[in-house]
Amino acid sequence: MKNYISFLSRSKTGETKIGKSSTNYGLIAGIAVFALVFIFFSIKATGFLSKINLVHNLVMPAAISAVIAMGMTVVMAGGGIDLSVANIAGLAGLASAAVSAQFDLPVPLMFLTALIVGGLIGAINGVLVAYAGISPFVVTLSVVYLAHGLQYLISLMAVSGTYLMLPRVVTKLGTNAFFQIGFCTFTFILLFIYLDRSIFGRYIKAVGMNINAANFSGIPTRFYTWLTYVICGVCCAIMGIMLTANEGLARVGSGESYQIDAFLLPILGNTIFGRFSVQGTLFSALFIYMVINGMFIMGVSPEKVKIIKGGLLLGIILVSGIQKVARREN
């Protein structure tokens, strides 16, 4: 560092105040509600606390949807949105099943194929958004159509044109909790470090919050915008692997039931945590799946669960909204 200014010669002028930023009531409320709901189910829903329920019914499905939602989180943190996540996941799963069927690839190579496909589609999304300057809504909407068409094209390789079955090894892995939760944990840790602790995360968040200032600060904004889509694509591919392995088959439309989760969880996390973060997304995933699972055990029909899910979401957002209004009024 060049000494253009006197203090830089290490004339430290007293330790400055290290304060906390203002308390995040949303987070406290979120955790409190989570705890309350957990306790409620532990008492009311028989078998809720059993290991098989917690691991297989709660954490495993939450893990699958958390992975795709974490990819979306990265994009949203960078100021974008990706409507095509579920379709990328389906396409990656289908493509890997197809190459495995066609070329008898070993499992790791099969997974690699999925990652490459996911990354490629993500890269296309990214190029169109970051370098061609097209609205991410439109770009990713087009990719929804494109990926869907490609899925049909690949499915022509299937015997009767419907679905491709995965090798038995993979199917075995897919129902294994270690595999599923492991994949999710791995993705989470990487992304947590990347977004929350690394310098790249700072760049991405700066781009997401004020792309102009980021540019004036010398951050290659286009590159980092592009990167968020690539990371998202790869996450989708991981989720595609987890899902197709779990189902034992890949077919046109695989993953589409996760579209809403991918959209909702990051935003819910943002509402609770006050910013887009993978920890917020993971928390939201566990929260939502806990509610669904608990309700299910208590015998609430799937449709009523939908009402409760919607109502609960509205409730949480409402709390955060009231808090926002209250803060303004202060």
Binding site: M76, L128, V129, G133, S142, G149, K306, K324, R328
Partner: protein
């Protein structure tokens, strides 16, 4: 800062529409037949009308995806009342009433509690789908021809189906309302910068609420037309509209280089989508090619409209 009024940008999507029309006329036999063209118009109607509703809310700077939940609900109420022998206008009023109530709740959540409209309306969509289930017991409600008086809606006046005339009428009215009236101008102002609206002495809460209510009424019109077209209220009628309606609203933004939500854009975009669907079937192209073509055409249209702009567009949450 950069001037961006090039002809290409301005008319790119329009040009693609014309170009595709010409190509389809040549390649797809019977594409140009009056019957088929009328079909095409009818098919774009519901999409376009629901798109109008969404665009009105987008002009006011918000988004409302709850239509995927409210359309089946309104449809079901409308259809059940008709099926129970209630007069047409009672069923109509009930549906509109429900639409207004939903929109009012959404608007208050968004404006008073400052909730993000994306997530609020998605949550609302879930809630409404659940309520739909409880109300209907999970059954599609079908209506017979007599109960529905389908002919009244889909019958022709001259060569034109009534529904198409309704569509064009709505288009003209909503276009005037959004572009030529103080109300439309103020909605745009509220949408572009709510803080400044306050400074200009306009109440952003009022205008946003009005936009939501207005959108809600248009969604209800969409719901009733869907019910009529499908001869009943189907569970899937909302969710299958979700994506296409968003598509027309967003593609519509690029029409005529406006770069903002607008009514003519939705009109043309709904025609474009219906045309692609229609012609691809006529040309007997393989199934996978329809979504692919949709994607490619969408992206290239917008790419052309965007040339030279080249700045990253960011979404506000």
């Amino acid at each position: 800062m950069k001037k961006n009024n090039g002809l290409l940008q301005k008319y790119a999507v329009f040009a693609i529409l014309i170009l595709l029309f010409v190509i389809f006329s040549i390649c797809a036999k019977s594409f140009l037949m009056l019957d088929n063209l009328m079909n095409l118009l009818v098919q774009s109607t519901i999409l376009g009308i629901v798109g109008f509703g969404l665009v009105f809310i987008m002009i006011a700077g918000e988004i409302d995806l709850s239509y995927a939940g409210s359309i089946p609900l309104e449809g079901a109420v409308f259809a059940s009342l008709l099926a129970n022998g209630k007069p047409y206008f009672v069923a109509l009023l009930a549906a509109v009433g429900i639409g207004l109530t939903i929109s009012f709740i959404v608007s208050q959540l968004v404006t008073r509690f400052k909730l993000v409209s994306y997530i609020t309306t998605i949550a609302m969509m879930f809630l409404l789908q659940g309520i739909w289930y409880v109300l209907t017991g999970g059954k599609n409600v079908f209506l017979s021809e007599e109960m529905l008086n389908r002919e009244f809606i889909f019958g022709n006046i001259g060569p034109f189906p009534r529904i198409v005339l309704l569509y064009v009428l709505l288009f003209v009215l909503l276009y005037l309302l959004s572009e030529h009236t103080p109300f439309g101008l103020r909605l745009r102002a509220v949408g572009s910068d709510p803080e400044s609206t306050r400074a200009a002495g306009l109440n952003p809460i009022l205008y946003k609420t009005l936009a939501f209510l207005f959108g809600g009424v248009i969604f209800t019109i969409g719901a009733i037309l869907t019910t009529a077209r499908m001869s009943g209220a189907l569970a899937t009628s909302g969710s299958s509209l979700l994506m296409p309606v968003m598509t027309v609203a967003f593609v519509g933004q690029t029409f005529l280089g406006m770069g903002r939500p607008n009514i003519p854009g939705v009109f043309l975009a709904s025609l474009l989508l219906a045309m692609i669907d229609n012609a691809f079937v006529l040309m007997q192209l393989p199934i996978w090619s329809v979504p692919m073509a949709n994607g490619v055409i969408l992206i290239s249209a917008i790419f052309l409209a965007n040339i030279g702009k080249n700045e990253i567009i960011q979404i506000k949450f």
